[in-house]
């Protein structure tokens, strides 16, 4: 059963009752008779953590990681070849120096052309079906559910959400839910309450003990799954409060802030770095990066707040520094970093508004660290980035979101073919739809 050190009234009886109340799944999983199916696969397990950078709005692949030369490009774009990997030196100064660690998948195709749907797909590897959405957890939630860590940090961090919709943990329960903790210059205020000055910690312990005694009878007897889900978070929150190691994850210096670009996204990247380095429970960090939806004036520096120059500069400073720091601290090899948008953008000449629109047929995904082989390109698109001309991997077909998710699961040592047979509505939930039948697989080529 879960560690509930603070609460002496939890007994096996109550824990079982709780399990029975909030889900057949959890009870069965705990009792070891998990009603799941899986085929005989060996996950790689090369990564201990994953930082998934959601490039919301869908970045233009032909201007970023599948950069194409053409008369439509603005002057000074400075496309440089680094082995197989070409990048704009103007847009990505830091990442240009890190191409030896990058693996770019260029033969990726998207199922969706609408943001909300594409974002849902990206986060869950499932089609955004309104009938099932309530029972479709985020990939990060599945990871948290599988890994069952014992650290004090939440296993699934969601940073810089900033009004972007993030799918939750559905029926996998409270602990697997994304913790959207704020990133602020002053640190994480909610874990460092200090309105009693030096007395704060003692007061907190005292109050919390009182809360426990007053609420324990209710917590031990309610059978409602919604309330039981809520109750999960008390021990997590208690553990985080006044935990210096957690507070430290959310702190950064002015120098670091500057180096990471002095943006909200940059600060979130620092926290992601710290969370990985602390290795204190966080396995999956969703780093949300907006607003790549450059339908208009994408190369107009005066078009604010977002144009390609500002977007790429923010991205490069944050992610470039993140990779550099993870390498320096020795965490890079065990940290899988994925960078992905919902779909690609229309290639070739710009549209009438001097931008690019949605494009499903080709997009790029970048992977680094966590066992990924660097300096590698998988697949290729035609001269303008319109269609995939070479899938570049064993399956000889475009790579889809499902394959990316399978790759992430495999890297983290999770069996991607697993199916949970009984969601609360009685349906089956496949980690990766069709994976059991081998329809989607990890792109093993990224690991070299």
């Amino acid at each position: 059963m879960k560690d509930c050190a603070h609460c002496s009234t939890i007994s096996r009886r109550e824990a079982l009752k709780r399990a029975a109340a909030w889900g057949v799944l959890a009870a069965l999983a705990k009792s070891g008779e998990a009603r799941t199916l899986s085929s005989d696969v060996t996950p790689r397990g090369s990564a201990r953590a994953c930082i998934f950078v959601y490039m919301n709005g869908a970045p233009s692949h032909v201007d970023t990681f599948d950069v194409k030369d053409g008369p439509w490009n603005p002057p000074g774009i400075d496309i440089q070849d680094h082995g197989h990997i070409a990048l704009s030196g103007t847009l990505f100064p830091k990442l240009s120096g890190l191409t030896d660690d990058m693996c770019i998948l260029r033969s990726v195709k998207s199922w969706e052309a609408a943001h909300e749907r594409g974002a849902f797909y990206m986060q869950t590897a499932h089609s955004p079906n309104p009938a099932f959405a309530a029972e479709t957890p985020h990939v990060g939630a599945v990871v948290s559910f599988e890994k069952q860590t014992t650290g004090a940090m939440p296993p699934f961090l969601s940073l810089n959400e900033n009004q972007l919709p993030v799918q939750g943990s559905a029926f996998l329960g409270g602990r697997a839910a994304p913790a959207a903790l704020p990133v602020e210059a002053a640190g994480l205020a909610s874990v460092e309450p200090n309105f009693y000055g030096a007395e704060s910690r003692a007061r907190f312990e005292q109050r919390y003990a009182l809360l426990d005694r007053l609420d324990a009878p209710f917590r031990g007897t309610t059978q409602d799954r919604t309330m039981l889900n809520h109750i999960e978070f008390y021990s997590m929150a208690k553990r985080m409060t006044f935990d210096e190691s957690i507070a430290a994850v959310f702190r950064f210096s002015a120098e670091e802030d500057e180096r990471y670009g002095a943006t909200q996204f940059g600060r979130a990247a620092i926290v992601a770095r710290n969370a990985v380095h602390a290795n204190n429970g966080t396995i999956f960090t969703a780093l949300n990066n907006g607003y790549w939806d450059t339908h208009a004036r994408m190369w107009d520096r005066r078009y604010l707040p977002h144009n390609m120059y500002t977007l790429c500069s923010e991205f490069d400073a944050a992610i470039g520094s993140l990779v550099q720091d993870l390498k320096a601290s020795g965490d890079f090899d065990r940290t899988l970093i994925v960078m992905m948008g919902e779909f690609g953008r229309t290639p070739g000449p710009l549209n009438v508004l001097s931008g690019r629109d949605h494009h499903r047929d080709a997009m790029s995904v970048v992977m680094m660290g966590g066992g990924v082989r660097g300096g590698l390109v998988i697949g290729a698109t035609d001269s303008i980035g319109n269609r995939i001309i070479d899938p570049g991997w064993s399956r000889q077909r475009p790579i889809f979101t499902e394959d990316i998710a399978a790759t992430v699961y495999s890297a983290l040592g999770i069996d991607w073919t697993r199916t949970i047979e009984h969601t609360p509505s009685g349906r089956a939930f496949e980690y990766v739809p069709g994976a059991l039948q081998g329809r989607y697989v990890p792109v093993d080529e990224v690991f070299g």
């Binding site: 009938a131 309105f195 009182l210 978070f233 008390y234 629109d357």
Partner: protein, 587 residues
């Protein structure tokens, strides 16, 4: 159970036994069938036809109901579910003391007649129409203010929902002068082709008013996509959706700049008597949906095939939607879901019209969608009979004993029982309700000045728009963290998370409200002034914060925690009570 004999004289703790956990695990793998004994549902008092259906089915299938909620439980729950507020301690005391056997129905009447009811249900409907100033510079403060007034007027006067829906669908003129128009504006996306706006608005209309999300077939036929999802939509064609969308194709939308520098615009909407839906779009801007066949397509009601009787297609659209029985069914079902957490058809926006008729059940393995199809029809009939009065439905539900069951379940609960509504299913309170509960409990209501509203407001449930209160980031932060959403991209989320618990425990602003203050305005201060006896002080805190008296054990625990600093001790108690699980739920 609240636990133990001291708190619950009806169901003593000896009802629990080790037997129960063995049964729990075994029963998870067995199919449910239990007709061997008589359910207590047979003997529960019945207020109206809702109870007949709910208790009747429980009795037939041998499902045990929860006991009725206690007076304290129902007072707090009714206050929240009807007005979004927790009761004041004076109200709790007098209600509990009141010997009148009709006090619950009188309470319901007084809550429905209150200002807070109007505020709360304005917010409830606001959530459906999502008219926010933030919508792509097209609505702005003027548009949203006018819409909010229009909405509030509908709720305040209990206008016919049918008339209201008709006005929303047929509104024309200037969106800065006609509030209702801003609902149309909310579906308009400036950079997309007109057909996308029509299609989006069509989906919105079928979802909000008929409970059917047609967005799927706005992009493709149901065939080969929806067979596992929705039987009804699986057999429908995209062309049929276009014909539905065609009702909007005679509408002229003109965007007028208000202030070029701010890129703010407003909409002028009027109708032609000719025209139809064409699939032709500018190749340079085809929009978000797959290319359409050229058409043209004439208007035809998706759900019945009826053609418009006149040239005024938007009027005809409004007539057909509001005359459709599904309009009544979907609306009463949405309201049911608010009070019971689950709809009779759940989710309430996921109706499968081929699975709702018990006389015409769907093929296996599909099941009938509504848990109580006859009840749903009875409620729909009542709604229609009352000339589409929302209050009438609310009243019927609130008065029923089915609604007034406790969330405590003295037997072994099984997930299948949810479909019987065998107990009250608590919902985590909305962000606005949580903030308002905190301010009420601590007597720290703060003024909020909202552009477009003359007087300052004090409760989050009075706010017209998730961008408010724009100038108070602390309040905005609390509301955002409790999942309020933004009515644009981020949906409202009423789930739980570690961030919320951390906030409730450690946020300096929330914590500060439990302190005694120099002006003697906070709850703790007022109690110190008026209740010198320690026991009374504890009870006063329980009453203000949780809407009930402390049980004997809780009183003892609270008194035992007293140190040398009286004010600090009271503040600790209120902090603990606000952080109790029950505080953020409507149990």
């Amino acid at each position: 159970m609240w636990g133990g004999d001291a708190r619950c004289p009806v169901y003593p703790s000896s009802a629990w036994s080790l037997q129960s956990d063995r049964i729990a695990l075994e029963s998870l793998t067995q199919s449910f069938s239990n007709r061997s004994h008589e359910s207590k549902a047979l003997t529960l008092p019945r207020t109206n036809f809702i109870d007949d259906h709910i208790f009747g089915k429980m009795a037939t299938d041998g499902v045990e109901p929860a006991p009725l909620a206690t007076d304290a439980e129902i007072l707090r729950r009714l206050s929240l579910d009807l007005t979004g507020r927790i009761p004041a301690s004076e109200q709790v005391v007098s209600f509990l003391k009141n010997p009148d056997p009709d006090k619950r129905s009188k309470l319901i009447e007084s809550l429905i007649a209150s200002e807070a009811f109007v505020d709360y249900w304005t917010l409830y409907f606001g959530d459906k129409f999502q008219v926010t100033a933030r919508w792509y510079n097209l609505i702005g403060i003027p548009g949203r203010t006018l819409f909010h007034r229009f909405l509030k007027d509908f709720v305040a006067r209990d206008r016919s929902y049918r008339d209201f829906a008709t006005e929303l669908i047929t509104a024309s003129g200037d969106s800065y002068q006609n509030g209702a128009l801003n609902f149309m504006a909310r579906s308009y996306n400036v950079s997309e082709p007109m057909q996308d706006a029509w299609d989006t608005l069509t989906d919105r209309l079928t979802t909000v008013f008929l409970g059917v999300q047609t967005q799927c077939v706005s992009c493709h036929d149901g065939e080969r996509h929806l067979e596992d999802i929705n039987l009804y939509l699986a057999s429908r064609k995209r062309a049929e959706f276009w014909r539905q969308s065609a009702f909007l194709s005679r509408t002229k939308w003109v965007q007028v700049a208000v202030d070029a520098r701010l890129f703010q615009s407003r909409l002028l909407i009027s109708d032609r008597t000719t025209g139809s839906y064409t699939g032709l779009v500018d190749p340079g801007n085809p929009g978000v949906r797959p290319l359409r066949a050229n058409g043209p397509f004439d208007a035809q009601y998706f759900f019945s095939g009826e053609s418009p009787r006149s040239d005024e297609w938007r009027s005809e659209l409004a007539r057909m939607i509001t005359a459709d029985r599904q309009f009544a069914r979907a609306t009463v079902n949405y309201i049911w879901a608010h009070f019971f957490r689950n709809g009779i058809v759940d989710p309430p926006d996921g109706w499968d019209l081929m699975r709702i008729d018990p006389q015409n059940p769907p093929p296996k393995p599909w099941a009938l969608q509504p848990t109580h199809p006859e009840l749903l029809d009875a409620l729909a009939d009542e709604f229609i009979r009352s000339n589409y009065s929302i209050r009438h439905v609310i009243r019927l539900i609130a008065l029923s004993n089915a609604y007034q069951l406790s969330s405590r379940y003295p037997y072994e609960w099984r997930p299948e029982y949810e479909r019987y509504f065998a107990r009250h299913l608590p919902r985590r309170l909305m962000a606005e309700e949580i903030y308002d509960a905190i301010t009420t409990a601590t007597a720290t209501e703060r003024e909020m000045h909202i552009e477009g509203i003359d007087k300052p407001v004090y409760y989050a449930s009075q706010l017209p728009d998730p961008v408010e209160p724009r100038y108070d980031s602390r309040i905005l932060n609390i509301l955002t963290n409790f999942g309020r959403g933004d009515w644009v991209q981020k949906p409202r989320k009423n789930g739980s998370g570690v961030v919320q618990v951390l906030l409730m425990m450690n946020d300096p602003d929330l914590n500060g409200r439990t302190f005694a203050d120099r002006n003697y305005s906070t709850r703790v201060s007022r109690i110190m002034l008026s209740a010198p006896n320690a026991e009374d002080a504890v009870q006063a805190l329980f009453l203000s914060t949780l809407g009930r008296y402390a049980a004997a054990e809780e009183l003892a625990t609270s008194l035992a925690a007293r140190g040398s600093d009286y004010a600090q001790w009271l503040s600790d108690i209120q902090w603990a009570l606000m952080n109790k699980t029950e505080f953020v739920f409507n149990n």
